[in-house]
């Protein structure tokens, strides 16, 4: 099959280019895109990409496969290859460091903004802060986010304003702490989101939902943040 890979090494190349490589899949098996990348790397050791756990938990190998963001390690070729061709590009919208490796600083900066930790100003109990099963269930569909950036880099609002719009991933996390019964900073958290960019640049096109490798729903979380802002407003 034909694999077209985005190549860019700023130390050598003046501009990025697409490299076409013909590759035979051993035994005609339905391997994952990450396995294919390893085959490519065997052919050309200068190929750069991130990977770590190779089982969809660490979120390192987010990339754009035939126009769709996803994790290479849990995406089988049969799911993305069209007409025996696969185009691999880095996650869109973020600066490229080399080949398929992007600079995630802007993404992490937005994550940092939402204060991704529990804030509780009451005295800590002797053992731990307890939650009822119902309170704990509120966090389902939120805590599973692995920060792979597939969603935020599929979002046009994040492409145009990566410095101002928090993006689907950060907002899903923001709601994860707003929804947590052990967190007491709800008012302060909401006050930090009530500007025309942080939350309200989301126009609900749901690209985030469609690409999330963990099957999460950031658009729903954003809607809930918006509802909290409305009910808090006077």
């Amino acid at each position: 099959m034909l694999v077209s890979v985005y190549r860019y090494n700023p130390e050598i190349d003046d501009a990025p280019y697409m490299q076409d490589i013909h590759i035979d899949i051993p035994g005609g098996k339905d391997i994952m895109v990450l396995d294919l990348l390893q085959l490519l790397k065997d052919k050309d050791p200068t190929m750069g990409y991130r990977r770590s756990c190779r089982e969809g938990v660490c979120g390192s190998d987010g990339m754009n496969m035939n126009g769709r963001n996803g994790l290479a390690c849990i995406t089988p070729l049969s799911e993305v290859v069209e007409n025996d061709k696969l185009v691999l590009r880095p996650l869109p919208g973020l600066p490229v460091i080399r080949d398929l490796v992007v600079d995630m600083s802007q993404f992490y900066k937005q994550y940092e903004k939402i204060k991704p930790f529990l804030i509780n100003d009451t005295p800590p109990p002797a053992i731990e802060r307890l939650q009822s099963p119902e309170e704990r269930a509120e966090l389902d569909g939120l805590y599973e986010c692995i920060l792979c950036a597939c969603c935020s880099t599929a979002c046009p609002s994040f492409w145009w304003n990566p410095d101002k719009f928090i993006g689907p991933s950060g907002l899903l996390q923001a709601y994860r702490f707003l929804a947590d019964s052990r967190d007491t900073a709800t008012t302060e958290r909401l006050a930090g989101l009530d500007d025309p960019f942080s939350v309200f640049r989301c126009h609900g096109i749901m690209n985030c939902v469609s690409v999330c490798p963990k099957g999460l729903n950031p658009t729903k979380a954003i809607g809930k943040i918006r509802n909290m802002l409305i009910s808090q407003a006077t």
């Binding site: 145009w160 304003n161 989101l193 009530d194 025309p196 960019f197 942080s198 939350v199």
Partner: protein, 115 residues
């Protein structure tokens, strides 16, 4: 939080709310106008004039006009902050949109009360 903002209400929630409320007003006005024209097959100038001489219709139309102005401003502001990155050009674009909106409102009022 983004603090330097030149939008309509300077609050995302406020702009969002205005956008929704004005959209409902515009929808109501559009549905009414289409309905009125459909159910008045022999619409002539006299009937049209009488419709707009009615105070309630003037209030409704002015409401739709102001809704359109607010809706357009918020929309154009959003679009310009997405796509026009050089501040000078964006400022010029936003000023032109503001001026045009203002002209439309004054002109609209003049037409409405000139009936």
């Amino acid at each position: 939080m983004v603090t330097s903002i030149t939008s309509f209400g300077r609050s995302g929630l406020y702009d969002w709310m205005i956008q929704r409320v004005t959209a409902v007003v515009l929808l109501a006005f559009t549905v009414f106008m289409i309905g009125y024209m459909l159910f008045s097959p022999n619409l002539d100038y006299q009937q049209w004039k009488e419709l707009f001489e009615c105070t309630s219709m003037r209030i409704f139309t002015l409401m739709a006009l102001l809704s359109m102005a607010a809706h357009a401003w918020i929309g154009m502001w959003s679009i310009s902050t997405d796509y026009i990155k050089p501040t000078g050009i964006r400022f010029l674009f936003q000023s032109a949109c503001g001026l045009l909106t203002f002209i439309y409102v004054v002109w609209g009022i003049q037409i409405l009360w000139g009936v």
